[in-house]
């Protein structure tokens, strides 16, 4: 038995690639290290409650019938109907800084109006920036010249507060680089968050993951859970098989890996010289989940998602402490337009965190530090927002160390390496990558990454 393709990782990119391959009768097996689907956008169960991890919402919302958008393309390529995803749109989100706030919805004109009101002297520049973004081809797979975002933004906008306010959500939801962002990634994120917008599937991320896994299996694909990859075996630069951690060896014509570029190369046998020279990502997060005994809106939390900075200057970096409490993202899962309200209130708080700091703690200190820094993050939050600590009925936190443990990504780097491999190629023939390190971002981006790499390398 020889597979046409082994896909490594049952996250969104791996599942999407698997569906495409199985759809055209390829013999395909997805191997996943964890016992749950989802990779960086997974979920977990505690005390009969299911919590989504990964992104707070899906970006790139477009309405049913819009087929040229990333979401439209994804649905078409995987042959889902828009209704199958059961997407419920956000109500309103906000970027909150010390002296300014900008609200946004899934209607871009609303945000344009907000900018005009809050930054009247910047609106012309903002409009010109939007023009540039709309005509930019961010999906070009050729690398070309690297353009960074900050100089581009500064050429249109001369108020540093507005620049930081625009960066805040776009960096938090997809930037692998500290300080600045590749401009094509800025464009991807700007379109996916501000021009298109947020939604959540009714039933949470695990609903979509199960939908995709079921489709993959119906099409004849094979899914091996709890099956980490030990080695990817090649001879003369061509992959021939994959060995799992349980020593089972699977013969294959091709491998498509979503585990990360360096993570993939470091499992190659014989060893590759390139493994050491490639930059790994550093950006990771701590997140705390608070189940509350009221609707969040009754506690003063009426936004879907708030991106905040308690300081005028927003700094997107690996913190020197365990986490950076001066900025963060607050998500109220309840404030999406569900047909029926969720049973309980849930507030999620996300802050930048340092993998190195968390990883250096021994177990006892690690547990104490989670509690301490959760408290500090809340304290900083409550200088800006109403106090909900008396209403918490359940809480839990995860750190970069947790992310590393379950996803295998080096440093728990949620957005992978700052250096993307847009064409998905590796030094080994017939070994390709998809997912976070290939360069399309977010839930929809990851899914499209799997689709486009399957189309480009494995179906032609």
């Amino acid at each position: 038995m020889r597979y046409d393709t082994i896909v490594i990782g049952a996250g969104l990119s791996g599942l999407a690639a698997g569906i495409r391959l199985a759809m055209f009768d390829k013999k395909v097996c997805i191997v996943e290290k964890h016992v749950e689907l989802g990779g960086l956008n997974s979920f977990y169960v505690r005390k009969n409650r299911t919590f989504d991890v990964g992104l707070h919402a899906m970006t790139n919302f477009t309405a049913k019938g819009v087929r040229s958008s990333p979401l439209g393309k994804l649905l078409k390529q995987l042959r889902f109907s828009h209704d199958d995803f059961r997407l419920c749109q956000q109500e309103m989100s906000e970027i909150r800084f010390p002296e300014k706030t900008l609200c946004f919805t899934n209607e871009f004109e609303f945000m344009r109006q907000e900018v005009a009101e809050q930054f009247p002297d910047q609106i012309d520049g903002f409009n010109k920036l939007v023009e540039k973004i709309l005509v930019f081809d961010e999906l070009d797979l050729d690398d070309g010249n690297r353009i960074m975002s900050r100089p581009v933004l500064e050429s249109f906008i001369n108020d540093p507060v507005l620049i930081d306010m625009l960066f805040c959500p776009l960096m938090y939801y997809g930037n692998a680089r500290v300080g600045d962002m590749d401009f094509y990634q800025f464009v991807i994120m700007f379109k996916s968050i501000f021009i298109e917008g947020f939604s959540k599937p009714e039933g949470g991320m695990h609903y979509i993951l199960n939908l995709m896994a079921d489709k993959f299996k119906e099409l004849g694909g094979e899914l091996k859970m709890g099956s980490g990859v030990k080695t990817i075996n090649s001879s003369q630069g061509t992959v021939g098989s994959v060995t799992l951690e349980n020593e089972e060896e699977l013969a294959t014509e091709t491998v498509l890996s979503s585990m990360g570029y360096v993570e993939t190369l470091s499992r190659c046998e014989p060893e590759l010289a390139e493994t050491e020279t490639y930059e790994t990502g550093q950006v990771s997060f701590m997140e705390s989940l608070f189940v509350v005994d009221k609707e969040p809106r009754d506690l003063g939390y009426d936004r879907s998602i708030v991106f905040f900075s308690t300081q005028q200057k927003f700094d997107y970096k690996v913190p020197e402490d365990l986490i950076d409490i001066s900025s963060g993202v607050l998500c109220c899962t309840n404030n999406f337009q569900y047909p029926e309200p969720p049973k309980e209130g849930l507030i999620r708080l996300t802050n930048l965190a340092s993998f190195g700091k968390w990883d250096s703690l021994v177990r006892k200190d690690y547990i104490a530090a989670k509690k301490e820094w959760r408290g500090r993050a809340l304290e900083a939050l409550f200088t800006f927002f109403p106090d909900f600590s008396d209403n918490v009925v359940f809480l839990d936190s995860f750190t970069p160390k947790t992310i590393k443990k379950y996803t295998g990504h080096i440093n728990g780097a949620v957005y992978g390496s700052p250096e993307k491999i847009k064409n998905g190629k590796t030094p080994v023939k017939n070994l390709y990558i998809c997912g976070t390190d290939q360069g399309f971002l977010g839930i929809i981006g990851a899914t499209l990454s799997g689709i486009s790499m399957a189309n480009l390398h494995l179906l032609r």
Binding site: F24, K64, R67, S68, K73, K76, R79, S81, L459
Partner: protein, 87 residues
């Protein structure tokens, strides 16, 4: 397969590729991509469905024949005329 049957198999493929699209009112002489918003990824899917269902290989130079329904029917009918209608 008759001309009408060939037309129907194209419609079946389009219905699978574009489940949210209304394909009942397709005009045979207008470009498909102008009627149901097909992009290059979708054309690849039509070609791959033909390979999968009927073992027909459409070389890249012939993709232009698939631009309209009438073009699809006249290109594919000779290739499918001896085949029974697949289930």
């Amino acid at each position: 397969m008759t001309i009408e049957e060939v037309r129907q198999i194209i419609l079946n493929i389009l219905a699978d590729i574009a489940p949210d699209e209304d394909i009942s009112s397709i005009d045979d002489n207008t470009k498909l991509r102008d009627q149901i918003d097909l992009d290059s990824m979708d054309f690849l899917d039509i070609v791959m469905e033909l390979r999968k269902r009927f073992n027909i290989e459409v070389p890249e130079k012939d993709y232009e024949h698939l631009a309209t329904m009438a073009g699809c029917v006249s290109y594919l009918t000779p290739l499918l005329k001896d085949r029974p209608l697949a289930s």
